[in-house]
C-alpha cells in the first residue's frame, strides 16, 4: 500500500481555510481516494491518502484529483496565497515523490454527458495506427465523471519488452496517441474533454506508464515503472560530459 500525503500551506488559518480542509477531505473520499485523513498543522493542511492498489500507477490519478480539488476549492474558499503540497510515501515510509506549489483557482467542470459512441468513429482509425506502431489499443472510452468532468480513458499494450523498440512503442502510446486523441476530440464537433487518461501496459498486463493530461492547465502528470524511459519528454538535461572538449 502506498500512502499519499497532501499538504496545503495556507496563507492564514481563517475560518474559510479551516473549512477547506474538511471539504477537500470529503471531496477526495467521495471520489474513491481511500484512506484519507486530513489535519491542519501550523497553517499547513496535511492530507494522507492510500492508493487503491497496484502501487504507483494509481498515484497519478490520486495526485491529479487532489491537485484539481484544491484548485476547485480555491474558487469558493479564501485560499489566496495558499500553497499545495503532495507527498507520496512508500510502504517503508520513505518519501518517493513530493510536489508543492501555488493553488491556482480552477472552476469545477460542468456536469456533462458522455455522448454515446462519441469516439467510435475514431476508434477504428486509432486501432490501425496503433497496429502500425506495434501497439494494441485495448480499450477506449469517454466517461462522464460527476466531479472531474469528461474523461477520455485509453488503455494500450506494447509488445517489446525492452530497448529502442519498446521506447518507440511507448512514445506512440503516450504522446503520439494523446495527440491523435486531442486532434479528434478538439476538432470539428469538438468534445469538451477535461482530462485525458492513458495507461500503457506490457503483454502481461503490468502497468508501464500511467499518464494524465489536463488540457485546461496545459499540464501533464505521469508515472513510469522502474526501467521505463520517459520517452515522451524531449527536454531532458544532460549528465556531465566526461569527454567534453576543454573549450577556452
Amino acid at each position: 500500500m502506498v500512502a499519499v500525503v497532501l499538504t496545503m500551506a495556507l496563507g492564514s488559518a481563517s475560518a474559510e481555510n479551516v473549512g477547506a480542509d474538511a471539504m477537500l477531505s470529503r471531496n477526495l473520499e467521495t471520489q474513491g481516494i481511500q484512506g484519507t485523513s486530513v489535519s491542519l498543522q501550523d497553517g499547513s493542511l496535511e492530507v494522507t491518502l492510500s492508493s487503491r492498489g497496484n502501487g504507483a500507477p494509481e498515484d497519478t490519478w490520486a495526485r491529479t484529483v487532489a491537485q484539481r480539488e484544491a484548485a476547485f476549492l480555491a474558487t469558493s474558499s479564501d485560499l489566496s496565497g495558499a500553497q499545495l503540497g503532495i507527498t507520496i510515501v512508500d510502504e517503508q515510509g520513505d518519501v518517493v515523490y513530493r510536489c508543492e506549489g501555488p493553488i491556482e483557482a480552477l472552476s469545477r467542470p460542468a456536469v456533462k454527458e458522455a455522448p454515446a459512441d462519441a469516439l467510435s468513429s475514431a476508434e477504428a482509425d486509432l486501432a490501425a495506427q496503433a497496429e502500425n506502431a506495434k501497439v494494441v489499443l485495448k480499450s477506449l472510452s469517454l466517461d462522464a465523471d460527476a466531479s472531474q468532468g469528461l474523461i477520455v480513458d485509453c488503455r494500450t499494450s506494447v509488445s517489446a519488452s525492452s530497448g529502442q523498440e519498446r521506447d518507440a512503442q511507448i512514445r506512440w502510446a503516450t504522446v503520439g496517441l494523446l495527440g491523435e486523441l486531442r486532434d479528434f476530440c478538439e476538432g470539428p464537433g469538438r468534445l469538451d474533454v477535461d482530462l485525458y487518461r492513458l495507461r500503457v501496459e506490457d503483454d502481461g498486463g503490468n502497468v508501464l506508464v500511467s499518464y494524465i493530461a489536463d488540457p485546461r492547465t496545459r499540464s501533464v502528470r505521469a508515472w513510469a515503472a522502474p526501467g521505463v524511459t520517459p520517452v515522451w519528454c524531449q527536454g531532458q538535461p544532460a549528465s556531465l560530459p566526461t569527454d567534453a572538449p576543454d573549450i577556452p
Partner: protein, 197 residues
C-alpha cells in the same frame, strides 16, 4: 525531418556549462531580438539539476508547430516558459506564458530542504519537486532535439550556482558545445548559445 508524435527522436544536442555540485542554479536567459526560425524539432534553453536521471528544470522552449509536446498539443512556436520534472518515475510538466523577444527572464532551480527543489521563473516560485539528492550536478544549457535545425540564440548571463548558503558565479570549465548548438563563452558564467542565427 518532421518530428511526429510517435516517431523516434534524434538528438538531443547541448551547449552550455555545468557546475558540480550545487544546491541551486540560476541564470538570466534571454530571447533573441528576432523570432528564431524553428521549422523542424524543438529547442530548450534552461537551467536544471541532474540527479542520476532525475531532474527539475525551468526555461523557455520553442517548437516547430509539428513536434508534439507531452500534453499532446504542439510545442509553442514562440518562446514560452515551462517547468518540467522527473523524479522516481513521477513526471510533471507545466507550460507558462510566452517570453517576449529580446527579453531575459531569470530561471532558477534551488534546493529548499529535505531533497525538495523549487523552480522559480522571473522571481515567482512555481512548483517544487523531490526527493532529489543534494547537492547535485547543476547546468545551464541550450538543448535541441528532433533535428539539428532549430534556430536559437539565448544569452546566459549571471549564471550562478548555489553553495551551502549563497549564490556564486559558475566557476568550473565544464563547457560543452555539440556544434550544433554552438556557444560563445565570455566566461564560465556568461555565454551565448546559438544555432543558425
Amino acid at each position: 525531418m518532421a518530428l511526429l508524435g510517435g516517431s523516434a527522436l534524434a538528438g538531443p544536442w547541448y551547449a552550455g556549462n555545468y557546475r558540480n555540485p550545487g544546491y541551486g542554479v540560476k541564470a538570466d536567459i534571454s530571447t533573441p531580438s528576432s523570432m528564431p526560425s524553428v521549422t523542424s524539432g524543438v529547442v530548450f534553453n534552461m537551467v536544471s539539476n541532474y540527479d542520476y536521471g532525475d531532474w527539475i528544470q525551468v526555461g523557455w522552449v520553442q517548437g516547430d508547430g509539428a513536434a508534439r509536446a507531452p500534453d499532446g498539443t504542439y510545442w509553442p512556436t514562440v518562446p514560452k516558459s515551462y517547468e518540467e520534472s522527473m523524479v522516481n518515475g513521477y513526471y510533471d510538466l507545466y507550460l507558462y506564458s510566452s517570453q517576449p523577444l529580446n527579453y531575459a527572464r531569470t530561471y532558477e532551480v534551488v534546493h529548499i530542504g529535505s531533497g525538495t527543489w523549487r523552480g522559480i521563473i522571473a522571481g515567482t516560485p512555481r512548483y517544487s519537486f523531490g526527493p532529489f539528492s543534494y547537492p547535485t550536478l547543476v547546468e545551464a544549457l541550450t538543448e535541441i532535439a528532433g533535428t539539428t535545425q532549430p534556430h536559437t540564440r539565448a544569452g546566459f548571463n549571471n549564471v550562478q550556482y548555489k553553495g551551502l548558503n549563497s549564490y556564486m558565479p559558475f566557476d568550473q570549465n565544464n563547457r560543452q558545445q555539440d556544434m550544433p548548438p554552438y556557444a560563445t563563452f565570455t566566461s564560465n558564467s556568461k555565454y551565448t548559445c546559438y544555432n543558425g542565427m
